[in-house]
Amino acid sequence: MTTPFSSRLPAALGRWWRPAIVVLGIVVLLRVLDGPGESFWTQVVTRAMILVLFAVSADLVWGYTGVFTLGHAIPFGVGGYTAGLLADRFGWSEVLLLSLAAAVAAAAIGAITGLLLFLGRQPLTAIAVSLTTLALSFVAERIAFGWSFLGAANGLPGLPIPTLFGWRIEPGVPFFIAALVSLFVAYVASSHLVESRVGLVMRAVRDDEVRAAYLGYAVGHIRFAVFVASNALAGLAGALFALHEGFVGPTQIGVVLSTQVLLWLVLGGRGVLLGAVIGVAIVEVAGRGIADEYPRQWPVILGVVLLVFVTALPGGIVDGWRRLRDRGRTGRSSSGGVEVASASTGSGAS
């Protein structure tokens, strides 16, 4: 944190070599799993990366500013429908433009919702925020189901393959690369944000909004800003998802997806960006095999796992792993001279 600029670059490299190796490993694995001319597993992982992008955006809101939104599929779906409509009805194909339009549309929706949630004269309580977002998600799903312009229950199928500067981004290796680049950029930007002093303020707002307010922070404004930015990111993810699947429909804006994204964060861990990656990896990639094998039992298995996590490991897998690691290091954790309070504070934002 306090390194001078000259040594920052190697430090940054030091941080990213491990993820780089993981990505390399995944690429090699995909070459093995997908035979020549096939791209099934490449597409599974591409889809997962897009969902990680979505989960990261949800973590910024829930994990870092403590807003338990039950409507995070709204910006995802708005992004998806925006890209879908522009591609399907208006013949847009440039993926950069489609993504940008989707992000802007989702941010605009986020600004309207955020105004209602955070900038009223009397700030809403946490419960009211959750219930409002839940209701909005429900409404969004109903609208998508009922409105023929959006394809109603069928959604918009058969979306054309997007292009990047005229180059076709087919599902498979090209889309894999596009998703990887998007995720990398968003992830690096998000981690820079949450580790900066702005991130410190976000956590302060999450942990004790009264104290934050008495230090002079406009809690509502901060939550609003993060919410809008996060909605834009979710809109981008929604657009990529729709373009990758060649389809956008009501499930991509509804209540189920809104809760699913929270589930990934519960499993992986919130308030830590890596949690989003791990949560999605477990449920959407590893869990996929089980889900295909035992489709009826899968929701029950997932429910039980979730219950175990909420009660026994509320900080998620990342937090659990860190504790295990720290346990190996105890003995020098608390420095001498300080009276150490007997009660240790549990982690986790509510």
């Binding site: 009264v210 008495y214 002079g216 809690v219 001279g337 300080v338 309070a341």
Partner: protein
């Protein structure tokens, strides 16, 4: 120079009147001690002045402006600061991060996105923590501090915020007499820049540092005066005799 004035403040919890028509004026350079038996409404009064509670009657003025409807962050930006009875610090953050949060308010977001500030703030943080003997605990997680240290960390945060009106709710609770004297000296030194309201159950302590004392009982104002006047006041004696 900012004066905080509360006029005719009333607070109702359901049908229970926790505060009933209390008025109070806090002037720069003055330390006002607020005393009264348990449950007499001291914290309720502080919370109302701070804007944490909305009064059912009366108004609050800060530097001549009516701030009754202002949200807490606006009052804080106008120079109001409060230390709560139960320390409100960030237990999952380090001591230094807690102070940074107080130091960096009002800085533009662009600066907060750069990490270079850490170097600059470290010395200031250390200096701010020194009066509270916390300057060698910069990287300790605040939740691992003992109770007294947590109280003092909150005081350091409040000081870092640079208030012109300071509300202190039992800042020395759970401290040794020595620590208490230290806090007393710090409050006194702070008061020449600032209007201070301090709640404490140690009457000798309050008498020793206050210029004015206000007494509450059952949500009502009993008396206001110099420490000597309050000591001699018949109503005050009655309140304390009937409770102690």
């Amino acid at each position: 120079m900012t004066t905080l004035v509360g006029t005719d403040l009333g607070v109702q919890y359901g049908s229970f009147r926790a505060l009933d028509g209390v008025s109070l004026e806090l002037r720069p350079g003055h330390i006002t001690g607020l005393i009264g038996p348990n449950g007499s409404g001291k914290s309720t009064l502080l919370h109302t002045l701070a804007g944490f509670l909305k009064p059912t009657t009366g108004r609050v003025e800060l530097g001549g402006t009516d701030v009754t409807s202002w949200q807490p962050y606006r009052r804080a930006r106008s120079g109001l600061s409060i230390k709560f009875q139960v320390a409100r610090i960030y237990t999952q953050m380090t001591v230094a991060e807690n102070v940074h949060l107080a130091l960096q308010t009002g800085r533009p977001v662009r600066r907060l996105l750069r990490s270079a500030d850490d170097v600059v703030d470290r010395d200031r943080t250390q200096a701010l923590l020194a009066p509270f003997q916390l300057d060698d605990h910069l990287d300790v997680i605040a939740g691992e501090l003992g109770h007294g240290h947590q109280q003092r960390l909150e005081l350091a945060m409040v000081a870092a915020h640079g208030p012109s009106v300071l509300l202190l709710d039992e800042p020395t609770a759970g401290m040794s007499p020595d620590e208490r004297r230290g806090v007393g000296q710090w409050v006194t030194s702070f008061a020449d820049r600032c209007a201070v309201l301090i709640v404490d159950h140690d009457l000798d302590f309050v008498r020793s540092i206050s210029t004015t004392i206000t007494v509450l009982n059952q949500g009502q104002h009993v008396a206001t005066g110099t420490p000597a006047e309050i000591e001699a006041h018949p109503d005050v004696r009655r309140v304390y005799l009937s409770h102690v």
